[in-house]
């Protein structure tokens, strides 16, 4: 049964205030939600890739992590935590350790989709009992908003600027969750903070499966996306409603759509509040907007097919 917020608020806080993430940062929300799925008597070791989350949460001599924590480098959070998990299995097997532990690694989209993909793929393939959480904010925010392979098509970043000739990023997002699902691991999910029950449920499942689990969370960056900071939840809701960020899970190879938007909402609704897409609405860029919508539709149809749902064509 789903826990209520009343109950969850009484669970020990594993990511405390006093960290130096931006005011309103999506990562703070995402991390708190994921770790809140652990019970008070569960021990956890957190690994973290270099990025905003890591540099803002462990500024010596302060740590916001109310548990054991390890940061190694940018691209190797998965490998590092896989080593911690291997040590756990070894020490347990030898009777050198009594306590039980869970293992989770957090990485941004840069550290996961791009530079850390090999390390993540290796760890997933080897079957370590660990959860990898990608906090996807669609660019390298820590270094100042450079495009990553998670950056949506059309987005204005500092390395895919909206210029006179090239209007922002030209390539669609990499479908990371599908890529990880192809590793045939027990659990893969895509979720979004607008639906906290969905995040909670998925985090709980991920911590409980016997093997690797991967969760991709849409985690907005107020600075990089240039939206009104307090509107974060509404914005993420729009990402889900417009089918830009569908909620789904892949359990033991079975794809399942977790929420099907009731009506067709144009991706414009998600793009409009964000400064990074401002140029998309400028006269002359109508084709770009069309391309973005086409990309969303294409990926949505592919997802429906994977999930065994009836195809649903856009009304036009």
């Amino acid at each position: 049964m789903m826990a209520t917020l009343k109950e969850l608020a009484q669970v020990e806080e594993r990511f405390v205030g006093g960290h130096r993430l931006c005011a309103g940062c999506g990562h703070g929300i995402s991390v708190r939600m994921v770790l809140n799925a652990l019970e008070n008597d569960e021990n956890v070791v957190v690994g973290c890739a270099t990025g905003c989350l890591e540099v803002a949460s462990t500024i010596y001599p302060y740590t916001a992590w109310n548990c054991s924590f390890i940061h190694n480098a940018f691209e190797n959070a998965a490998a590092t935590i896989s080593g911690v998990e291997a040590a756990y299995r070894s020490l347990k097997k030898q009777g050198k350790l009594k306590d039980d532990f869970k293992f989770v690694a957090f990485g941004g989209d840069g550290g996961t989709y791009d530079i850390g993909l090999q390390s993540l793929s290796g760890a997933m393939e080897r079957g370590h009992k660990m959860v990898y959480v990608c906090l996807d904010n669609g660019a390298y925010m820590n270094t100042g908003i450079q495009r990553s392979s998670a950056t949506p098509i059309g987005a204005d970043t500092t390395t895919s600027p909206a210029g006179k000739v090239i209007p922002g990023k030209q390539q669609p997002r990499k479908d990371l969750a599908a890529l990880i699902a192809a590793h045939n691991i027990p659990y893969v999910a895509q979720t979004a903070i607008s639906n906290w029950q969905d995040v909670h449920k998925k985090a709980k499942k991920a911590f409980e499966v016997d093997g690797p689990a991967f969760i991709n969370i849409l985690s907005p960056c107020p600075r990089g996306w240039r939206y009104n900071t307090p509107d974060i939840v509404d914005l993420v809701k729009k990402a889900v409603e417009t089918r830009f960020w569908p909620l789904y899970e892949v359990e033991d190879g079975k794809w399942k759509l977790n929420s099907k938007p009731k009506k067709y909402v144009s991706v414009e609704e998600f793009l409009k509040p964000q400064g990074r897409f401002k140029h998309v609405f400028a006269p002359g860029n109508e084709d770009l907007l069309k391309r973005i919508q086409e990309e969303v539709d294409k990926q949505w149809l592919a997802l429906l097919e994977r999930c065994g749902e009836e195809p649903e064509l856009p009304p036009r």
Binding site: L5, K6, A9, E13, G24, T58, P61
Partner: protein, 122 residues
């Protein structure tokens, strides 16, 4: 349980690390042995607007608690208790997600003025 109460003591009970300590006194490799001691670091002064609670309107749904990036909604016994102004950065998300508009964002300037006015009255 609130994070700040729990962890403040952890940092200050043993020796606190400070920048005037020499290399021998600092922890090896920059390890931190007091989990969650960031609670001792106050980010409240980042704030230019602050959330103010309207008890009348609050239904204690704790949606604000769920969406606070800084764990700065303090709850007791599953009910809203107070804001942790030592850490709240004033992002305004709590006010935005509150279904009953029980949280209002007021500028710190305004709060300051009100305080001064109150003092003058006394």
């Amino acid at each position: 349980m609130t994070p700040s109460d729990k962890n403040l003591s952890q940092c200050c009970s043993s020796k606190c690390i400070s920048p005037d300590m020499n290399w021998k006194e600092l922890t090896k490799a920059g390890n931190i042995y007091t989990p969650g001691n960031a609670s001792a670091y106050e980010t409240g002064d980042w704030r230019t607007i602050r959330p103010v609670w309207d008890e009348e309107r609050c239904i204690h749904c704790l949606i604000c608690w769920r969406y606070c990036p800084d764990a700065s909604i303090i709850s007791t016994g599953g009910k809203f208790d107070s804001f942790d102004y030592k850490h709240c950065k004033g992002c305004g998300i709590c006010a935005n997600v509150c279904p009953t508009h029980a949280i209002e964002m007021i500028s710190e300037d305004e709060i300051e003025k009100q305080k001064e006015a109150k003092k003058d009255e006394e």
